[in-house]
Symmetry: C2
Subunit: 250 residues, 2 copies
């Protein structure tokens, strides 16, 4: 069933909002990289610098790539559904790999330093989010890609998948802001109150994470930009990408 | 226009979900009270205990009452719209008063202790949320209650009001979890890693806040429980409340 297109005005706003979300997403990764590489001393797979792998991987995986995977159904809203689903799944695999590297880094760091594990609210939320995210990935894979459930089950699960997908993404952003708060107080402590460059930059990273989360949530919850269902699912992705580019050029 | 009722199964789930949200909301207030009154030493309008007014008022105002105000359109979904709007507005006034007391407490506390203001990510987000929340309250009042905009403007603004209302509520919950993290590290520091009762209780408060936020978001974003529009808006609230109670008793 080809759904009716929303009025042109609503469609013209989509590329601008997607562009804004992309700028905010890239800003998150850039500020995360500057904070860990410049202010926190860079990366290593041992010693003090091992910790820095954790926030950067989490920002890249559980915020940036996770958000991109959600947005894909709006960016390629005229594409063949199967192709879009496969890209959605692949981007989520990337997010999961980054998250696992980030988790291994922080557990390893705590282990070698003799720090206790899993005592803070950030750590409880973080572990919970990654586990639920993995369960959501498995269910999504099973229902929508392989083995692929019956149409009624797919339809019933779709609304749960989209709600919990977005809810976990938002919780992931919130968990990142808690982790940022925790690390800043442990690392710079009382100096935080003197408005140092590191504190300001890390706060801006927090605002960028929240802004990216809000932009993704806004784009995916508007009715007018929902994915269009197609009868014929054969048109190549590249052709449709051309159409999306044309729309952007409007 | 009287909208078609969703199937009975979907309606029967609503009271259970509302009950769950209420239990989680009350748990937030209870855990917030135990944490500040028992573990942090209670309340006073001067000295060290002044600080404790801040988290408790923020949990009551910007989380619990804010969430209740949003849920009201689902709890009283069969009521006369004007009555529900007025209750929605009144509960939001309560939330705003609690938030202002909470803000005055923390600014006063910082002032008398000589602590710097507004340096942390929590403080930036918190101040931003309260200001935007107040703007949203004013716009809602102007568009929907007094002076009341033209139907087309109301309808155009309604989707913005509901999105930003929920988004600011979620940001408010996230800001609370950041504040909790900040205060715990400043107050119990290294002991946090020894799994003390205070740390566990405060982490549970954080989980309750997130749970309440998720329950509210779930109930208000499901299509099947949207507020029903009425042609005749005269039926008394009490009559409809009776109807809601009957549904719950099913």
């Amino acid at each position: 069933m080809e759904e009716t297109e929303p009025p042109g005005g609503a469609l013209r706003r989509l590329p601008w909002l997607v562009a804004t979300s992309q700028l905010l997403g890239l800003l998150c990764v850039a500020l995360g990289a500057v904070w860990t590489a410049y202010f926190r001393g860079g990366f290593a797979w041992e010693g003090d610098l091992l910790f820095n792998v954790h926030p950067l991987c989490m920002v890249i995986g559980m915020v940036f790539l996770y958000g991109e995977a959600i947005l894909i159904f709006r960016i390629f809203r005229n594409e063949v559904k199967k192709s879009v689903k496969i890209i959605h799944g692949i981007v989520h695999v990337g997010a999961l790999i980054a998250a696992i590297i980030g988790l291994v880094a922080v557990f390893d760091f705590h282990q070698t330093k003799g720090f206790p594990h899993l005592y803070s609210l950030h750590s409880w939320c973080g572990l919970g989010v990654v586990i639920l995210y993995f369960v959501q990935w498995l269910l999504g894979f099973g229902f929508f890609l392989f083995p692929r459930a019956a149409p009624e089950s797919r339809s019933a699960y779709r609304s749960i998948h989209t709600f919990f997908g977005l809810a976990l993404f938002v919780l992931s952003v919130a968990t990142a802001t808690m982790g940022l708060t925790e690390k800043l107080i442990y690392a710079i402590g009382d100096r935080y109150g003197e408005y140092p460059a590191e504190g300001i930059l890390a706060n801006c990273l927090g605002l960028a994470l929240i802004g990216f989360g809000a932009a993704v949530a806004y784009v995916v919850t508007r009715d007018e930009w929902r994915y269009r269902r197609h009868d014929g699912e054969e048109a190549p992705l590249s052709l449709h990408f051309q159409r999306f580019s044309d729309e952007r050029a409007d």
